[in-house]
Every structure is written in C-alpha cells, then in structure tokens.
C-alpha cells in the first residue's frame, strides 16, 4: 500500500498510531497524578535509588502474593501441629519456611475456634499482612469497613454473609504500622482424608482476614 492510499474510508477518527495503542486502556488517574508519578519515578531512577527493573520485580513480587500463599500456610498449620505452634507463638520462624520476611513488621496469627471468631481491620490506614496476602482489597481501605468493624463487627460480618451464633465471641484486631494480623480459620469437619492441595482450595483471602469462613465443602464439588 502506498503511503497515502487507503482502500476504504475509516468511519471514525483513529488518529495515526493504531499500533501504538494498547488493546484496552488501564483506567488512568488525573493528568496531575500521572505527572507527579512519572516525575518521582524518573528522579528516583536518575538518582540511582531504584531501577526500572527493581520496580518491575516489586510488582511481580506483589502479584505473586495472595490467597494461594496464605492458603499454604494455613493448611500447613492444619496438618502439622508443631508448625502451628510455631506460627502462633513465633511467626517469624514459621514464615521463613515459606520464604516470607515480615521485617520490620511483626505478624500475629490469631486462631478461630468453636468459641471465638477473629477479624482484622486497620482503623487508621490499611495495614495488612502484605508479605503474605499482597495488596489489601478495596473495601479494607474504605471508611465503611474501617469505621464500623470495631463498633458493630457482627453487622459488618453479616454484610459479608457471615452470620455467627450469639454465643460465639468476636474478637476484632486493629492492625498498625508495626503489627499485622492473619486469621487462622478452622479446618472444616469432614476433611480428615483430604490432601494438602484439596485443603488449600478451601482457604480464601477473606477467611484469613476473618470476614468469612473458608469455602464450604460443597463449593469445591464439580
């Protein structure tokens, strides 16, 4: 095709760089925010503080965290009493076996039982066990959850579809910059013969934040 020859007219204005456009634009923030982010990033790279490779790797590392990593830890605790004891008493050592380093923060693992249900919030910010679960969910950062989790936890739990018997105690743990919490959910009855990988499929992100239980056994069928 010659330079200025088109066989057909485009019905809409495409601009001139079809191939330069992504398939779908990621929702971008305001131009001002883009300018500040680009400026800070480029200055940090020019000053040798970070490299583009460091940023790429940091994103990759964050993407690798989440439900499945947390589930491995929970299932190990379900199936290995010595590990569970270590996780509940000196979690640093236990997490090192999974290549997780919480430092400079501390992790406190709180265990659900027949009598106690634990849930985690950060009323002041969005502190979260990021080295295990990655970036917190949007609702965890919002005012609604942060304000009400400490005042009416049962009502908030109901909004997640979690209804607890009145005689079950609810303990709400308020995270901070230095101390993060992870809920160790209860292993469901009837899973005695299950393999590790079957058990891991039961454990959800929300069950480790404590806003829900693990998946129901029938959710895994089919």
């Amino acid at each position: 095709m010659s330079e200025h020859h088109h066989d057909h007219e485009h019905g809409h204005d495409h601009g001139h760089d079809h191939d330069g456009k992504p398939i779908q634009e990621d929702a971008l923030p305001s131009l001002e925010a883009q300018i500040l982010e680009t400026s800070v990033r480029e200055l940090l790279i020019e000053k040798g503080i970070v490299s583009a490779e460091d940023i790429r790797r940091a994103i990759e590392a964050m993407d690798s965290r989440g439900e499945s990593l947390g589930a491995k830890i929970v299932v190990r605790a379900w199936t290995d009493p010595a590990f569970k004891e270590k996780l509940l008493t000196s979690s640093d050592d236990a997490l090192r076996e999974f290549g997780i380093n919480m430092s400079p923060m501390e992790l406190c693992v709180v265990e659900n039982s027949d009598d106690v249900h634990n849930m985690v919030v950060c009323t002041l910010c969005s502190c979260y066990p990021r080295p295990i679960l990655g970036i917190p969910p949007a609702w965890y950062k919002r005012r609604d959850y942060r304000a009400r989790a400490v005042r009416e936890p049962r009502a908030v739990l109901q909004e997640f579809g979690t209804v607890l018997p009145d005689n079950k105690q609810v303990r709400v743990h308020d995270s901070n910059a230095d101390l993060r919490y992870l809920v160790l959910p209860q292993r469901p009855a009837g899973t005695e013969d299950w393999t590790t990988s079957q058990l891991e499929k039961l454990v959800t992100r929300d069950s480790m934040i404590g806003v829900s239980d693990v998946r129901r056994l029938d959710e895994l069928v089919g």
Binding site: E37, L43, L124
Partner: protein, 108 residues
C-alpha cells in the same frame, strides 16, 4: 484530637463486598512498588509510620485523595524531606514531564 485518618467507631455506610472490590491497575501497582521499594531493607529510606504522618498531614484533604494518589504524595514528600531530590529538581522534572504527557495526550 481525632485526625482525618481515624475512622474507628464513626458512623459509616454499609460494606458492599461486591462493588467495593477493585483490581489494582498497573499505575496503582507502580505507586505501590515505589512505596515498598523506599521501605525495603536495602534502601530503608522511610518507614510506614513516616508515610502515614505525611498522609495524615493532609488534614481534611485526606478524604479527597484517591488512595494511591495519597500514597504518591507521601512518597514525593518523603523524598523531599530526606533530600533524595530537591524541590527545584522536582519542579523542573514535572515541567518536562508535563510537556511530554500533554504532547502524548494531544497526539503530537
């Protein structure tokens, strides 16, 4: 005194676990990565409480910022405070980046 970030116990609306989910965009992950990198053990340029101090100093503006734009502001202020770069360097860089992004936006 209650700071702008201190939501605990206040009145607020219902939590909607369906609509209040959001998969972080690549831009948000980039800001997240910058914060994590300045915190990390190799760099130790700032700590979480310092980032919070910066965000809380926004006062009532705290509520106006989208989450990661607040983080970005904190990273920028922390790097200025730690003299990693100067305000003059940041101003010059922003002017250059503005011209570049506006040109890209306008398809020049």
């Amino acid at each position: 005194m209650r700071g702008p970030q201190d939501y605990g116990g206040l009145d607020a609306g219902p939590v909607d676990p369906v609509t209040h989910e959001h998969v972080p965009t690549h831009w948000e992950k980039t800001v997240d990565a910058l914060m994590m990198l300045i915190f990390d053990q190799r760099r130790q340029l700032a700590r979480v409480d310092e980032s919070r101090r910066m965000q809380e100093s926004l006062g009532e503006d705290y509520h106006k910022y989208p989450y990661y734009e607040r983080w970005l502001q904190a990273v920028s202020w922390l790097m200025l405070e730690k003299a990693v770069f100067t305000q003059e360097e940041l101003d010059a860089k922003q002017a250059e980046v503005r011209a570049r992004l506006e040109a890209a936006r306008d398809g020049v």
